[in-house]
Amino acid sequence: MAAPSPVTLAVLIVSIVAVAVLISFTAVLKPSPRSLRKKRLSMLVDLRILRLCGGASVLLVLLTLLGLETGEYPIPRFQAISTAFWDRAGEYSFVVNSLRFPRVVTALLAGFCLASSGALFQTLLNNPLVSPDVIGINTGAALCAVFVLAIGADVGLLPWAAFAGAVVTAGTIYLLAWKKGITGNRLVLVGIGINALLASGITYLMVKFPIEQVLAAARWQAGSLFGASWSDARTLIIAIACLTPPAWILVRRLRLIQLGDEMASSLGLRVERERTAIILVASGYAAVAVAVIGPLGFVALLVPHIVRLVAGPLTGGTLVLTGAVGALFLLACDLIAQQLFAPTTLPVGVITAALGGPYFLFILVRYNRAP
């Protein structure tokens, strides 16, 4: 029970190798577009992206099963899977169906949200170093949530407080960066300033309130999936259901904004309106994830960047792929966080930061060297 079982480790390693193989295999493939047409309905599908999405789904299933098998409490091999799917009233029902399963699903959904948010922000601002955690959206959500935790208010308020914090922060950044329109660079710089300001606000709250109340806030702030419940998963599912259709519609317009405001405008877009909508949707994704699992860093930064390197510029298809890879990444990080120093479990934010920090530096160096 302390050390991960050999099967667990083996499957984990196989999954990671499979991801690596998948990425290196598809990176050399050219885009293979196919047009689907039926009467007046038509769309363009890139088979390569479709294949990548398929591969990611297989891994998602594998990793979900692995997640169910992984944990402190000893459960006979494969018993956890049967308890989760068909034998729901089994002996281990509480551990599997109330602890592990919701945690796995919450990790997947939160990863999907964070990565989608990052993909939208990075494409909108044409900057690979941007993500909701860099420009202060996550910190805004965290400030409100920490306040709720510190004053000892009802924990049920937490998602709403975080969401309000994220949206107010996004609005503030947008207004401060507005000068007859929005340019990406100004928005990023304003965001970094706001981020610092909000972070100092959090520190102030942590110092001001009694330690025992602040402790919960501190743990939440590191980003943790500990204690994730079905109601967390439900919050995320509702948010994804509300945000994904508009995100899909907006991606096609975002692809034009990417070519420059003048170009987008002359192609028939009302640029400011679309940009506002994209910022709202992207902030919404980030806010709901932060509300549920805390201001988890680097997922929104790293995953969209990797997917863009492999799959190319953002399309509706790559947005889904980014979400799927985000889900995989966060769940994998959580499993590592649980197993690395078992029986002590780390907050998942420690792992994402440990992987994301070096990667951030890597992008920074590459970005600065680019012509």
């Binding site: 309905l41 769309m43 028939g268 009302r270």
Partner: protein, 270 residues
């Protein structure tokens, strides 16, 4: 859905148009009619309002007063996509996001012809293939835009504007930053589009002589107004160049085409 009848000509004009970014207007009460079916070069000193005029004509910049009329109606009161199907703009020095292929770029020009569930019709496909063929980029369709040479890259952007399939193409300094061979290549391409594809072309040019050689109509701008316009032979005179650019120049006949060729005078003669 009734099939849209796309006009094969353009009716675009400005009416007492004021355009600007701050308190003082850059375009100052302009009345200008885009010469339909022609190739027009807009020339003028830096800051005379050439680029601003193109931005105004293409709905990118909203007038502070007055209006731009497309088929007699204010362009800011029409469907943005309907305007985009008739008027296209290629801004100065456009930049593509990294990792973008030529094909992907050119496809994006089809946006004004698409709907939410009608994203890639056979018409879209044909327009893209034709745009690539006209710009001789069919073989480079899968290349990354970042990896192209300057001339190829500009052709890729022109291909995108072509796939938009607008009758009027507005181009802001399409030849800037290109070497002379690529400048000629782009201008020849635009001439071909004007003649063979019957597109109306309005381009801002810094090089008066290129305007003289390739355009049917030259518009010289001065302080936000049209100083003079007409056929190159009528417009490009030493006195006009002195008035518009503040430069003494000698105008001779181009040894190749016979069109006016402007040669700056030596400062000691001035």
């Amino acid at each position: 859905m009734p099939l849209e009848i796309r006009p094969q000509t353009i009716d675009l004009k400005t009416s007492d148009l004021y355009l600007g970014y701050g308190p003082s207007p850059v375009i100052d009460g302009l009345n200008f009619v885009v010469p339909a079916g022609k190739m027009t070069a807009v020339i003028g000193a830096n800051g005379s309002g050439k680029s601003t005029l193109l931005r105004g004509l293409s709905r990118v910049l909203k007038p502070t007063s007055g209006s731009v009329l497309l088929n007699g109606r204010n362009i800011h009161e029409q469907s943005t996509k309907a305007v985009a199907r008739q008027v296209g703009l290629l801004p100065q020095g456009p930049t593509a996001p990294s990792g973008l292929t030529v094909m992907d770029l050119v496809r994006r020009g089809r946006y004004p012809h698409q709907r939410m569930f009608e994203q890639w019709s056979s018409e879209d496909e044909m327009a893209v293939q034709k745009a690539l063929a006209l710009t001789k980029l069919s073989d480079s369709a899968d290349d990354l835009v970042d990896h192209l040479s300057g001339g190829q890259r500009q052709r890729a952007w022109i291909a995108m504007a072509l796939s938009q399939d607008a009758h009027l193409m507005l181009l802001d300094e399409p030849t800037t930053y290109l070497d002379i061979a690529h400048q000629v290549e782009i201008l020849e391409l635009l001439k071909k589009l004007n003649i063979e594809e019957a597109r109306t072309v309005v381009m801002v040019l810094h090089d008066i002589n290129q305007g003289s050689r390739y355009a049917d109509h030259v518009v010289a701008m001065l302080n936000g107004a049209v100083a003079v316009q007409g056929a190159p032979q009528e417009v490009l005179t030493a006195s006009m160049i002195e008035r518009v650019f503040g430069l003494k120049a000698v105008v001779i006949a181009d040894p190749v085409t016979g069109t006016p060729l402007c040669v700056p005078d030596a400062p000691e003669n001035a």
